[in-house]
């Protein structure tokens, strides 16, 4: 108990004494962790869009009404046997309706006015080899309609085929560019945050070199000397993390929530999504503290 009290008193004294440097370290950690969180949120948002637009499948084969169970079984087996196909999932009309309701939940005009019968049943196909997409259209005898660009098929029971490969490719490219761009900046900022925290610790140790000298002289262990500085680094990183998390929630409330409902088809992140990335921010903050601690206190410690 007494030891813990000692550590925290020393830590508080260290941060006070080192005010401006500690502030610089904390604000850099804050910006770095905020950008890091932003990158994760952008990736999450685009994943939501991808899921909404494509249902996470690459090719959808829509079935014409009325759907017959034997047609479903036969087509599913046949599609499954194609070498290019990894998996085929059947979605019946009720499931299609439920998914549409969820997708448009922020737009009651659609969900209330469109009856469930309108949504077609479909096979949702994931390809093992996306370039071999032709195997599906060939098997189902489909051809693009020159006027509507829909791909209609002469196989009985099949309405049409929708190819999401292109849009999936584009969306993942956007995700990659946006997320990696922000992550790149975040990594640079995380490195500067680490260096700044390390430098704060080092300046703190320099300012207290006399005390440290006496501590060593009277037989304090290395850890007894180090721990207050390690806690100081951890506190600075965690304050930055807390500010970053708060700011991300503010972004969600004041930016994302303002857009909600304006664009009908666009699903938006919710509080749960922001909450889900907070552990990663805390882990990044702990990483900053650990690395900064290791490089910051290396000097002054040779007994």
């Amino acid at each position: 108990m007494r030891r813990i009290e000692f550590y925290f008193r020393e830590t508080a004294a260290g941060i006070r004494r080192n005010g401006i440097m500690a502030f610089a370290a904390m604000s850099t950690a804050f910006i770095a962790l905020f950008l890091f969180g932003l990158a994760l949120i952008i990736a999450r948002e685009i994943n939501l869009v991808i899921e909404a637009v494509t249902g996470n499948v690459q090719v959808a084969v829509y079935l014409s009404d009325p759907v017959r169970p034997e047609t479903v079984t036969r087509l599913q087996t046949e599609l499954q046997q194609l070498p290019a196909v990894a998996s085929v999932e059947y979605e019946n009309k009720d499931e299609a309706c439920a998914r549409a309701k969820k997708l448009f939940e922020s737009n009651p005009a659609i969900t209330e006015n469109v009856p469930c019968e309108v949504y077609p049943a479909s096979f949702r196909v994931t390809l093992a080899d996306t370039s071999q997409y032709g195997q599906i259209t060939a098997r189902l005898a489909c051809e693009p309609d020159p006027t509507t660009h829909d791909i209609t098929c002469s196989e009985p029971g099949v309405l049409k085929v929708l190819d999401f490969r292109d849009i999936l490719d584009r969306l993942s490219a956007i995700t990659r560019v946006l997320r990696n761009g922000v992550l790149f900046i975040a990594v640079i900022m995380l490195v500067s945050a680490t260096v700044l925290v390390a430098n704060t610790l080092r300046m703190g140790m320099f300012a207290r070199r006399k005390e440290i000298g006496i501590m060593r002289l009277v037989g304090a262990t290395n850890w007894r000397i180090r721990v207050p500085f390690l806690i100081e680094g951890l506190v600075e990183a965690l304050v930055g993390a807390a500010l970053a998390i708060i700011t991300l929630f503010l972004v969600k409330v004041f930016v994302v929530d303002q857009l909600r409902g304006r664009i009908v088809w666009l699903p938006l992140i919710r509080n749960g999504d922001v909450l889900a990335i907070t552990p990663w921010i805390l882990i990044a903050a702990a990483g900053v503290a650990i690395v900064a601690g290791t490089i910051g206190i290396r000097r002054f410690l040779d007994v």
Partner: protein
């Protein structure tokens, strides 16, 4: 208590501070280490504290080979058995007399009731029982050195190392400090004092080890400075 066996210390820059020095000091002795600047006095003290490692030879303090001690536990433990006093007192200016002394116990993890019992006791012993709450800059040089001696002794060390403890003090105050060190020695603490102060060495008539250019040139009981 202290044993240096054929100790040689050569620093990285090539300077040889000690050359094949052998010294034996028994428990409870009071020893002056004298000699001109650069003769190896400070190096000897630093070796005993394990602030330096000998280039050759062995150093034993309280039965332990200090070269073999680990920085994780062994060296701190060694230093808890050695009190140190310096010419410049090394007091923390932002702490009171009490806090300066209690700091030494606090950082080695002594519980509060031990600190509250021992600190006033040792400050009373060095004659500063009335000045617990003063800051170092409110004290005279002699009083500051008393605080530093209190800090060195509060953990009841086996050995007290003093490096020019009277170097910054006037002759009268120096005599007072020597009386105090003698008092500490009388309760069983082994005292090793490096000094230039001829008058004090001559007055005390204790064992004198004289170093010159890294070698022991004289080891005399009840000796004088030169």
């Amino acid at each position: 208590m202290i044993s240096l066996q054929n100790v040689t210390k050569t620093y990285k820059n090539g300077v040889t501070a000690l050359e094949s020095v052998s010294i034996e000091i028994e428990k409870g002795e009071f020893v002056f280490v004298v000699g001109p600047s650069g003769s190896g006095k400070s190096t000897t003290l630093r070796l005993l504290l394990r602030e330096e490692e000998p280039s050759a030879g062995e150093v034993f303090v309280a039965g332990k080979n200090v070269v073999r001690l680990s920085s994780l536990g062994g060296i701190p433990k060694l230093r808890r058995n050695i009190g140190c006093v310096f010419q410049d007192f090394k007091l923390l200016q932002d702490k009171t007399v009490f806090e300066n002394v209690s700091f030494a116990l606090e950082v080695i993890g002594k519980p509060k009731h031990v600190i509250d019992a021992r600190v006033p006791e040792i400050l009373d012993y060095v004659g500063l029982g009335e000045k617990l709450n003063n800051y170092p800059d409110e004290l005279s040089g002699g009083e500051q050195q008393r605080v530093s001696i209190a800090r060195a002794c509060v953990n009841r060390p086996l050995v007290l190392l003093a490096d020019e403890p009277t170097g910054n003090l006037d002759p009268n105050t120096s005599v007072d400090i020597m009386r105090l060190l003698d008092k500490v020695n009388k309760i069983g603490t082994t005292v090793v004092m490096a000094t230039h102060d001829q008058a004090i060495v001559d007055a005390m008539r204790k064992r004198v080890i004289e170093l010159d250019r890294g070698k022991v040139v004289r080891d005399q009981s009840r000796g004088v400075y030169s």
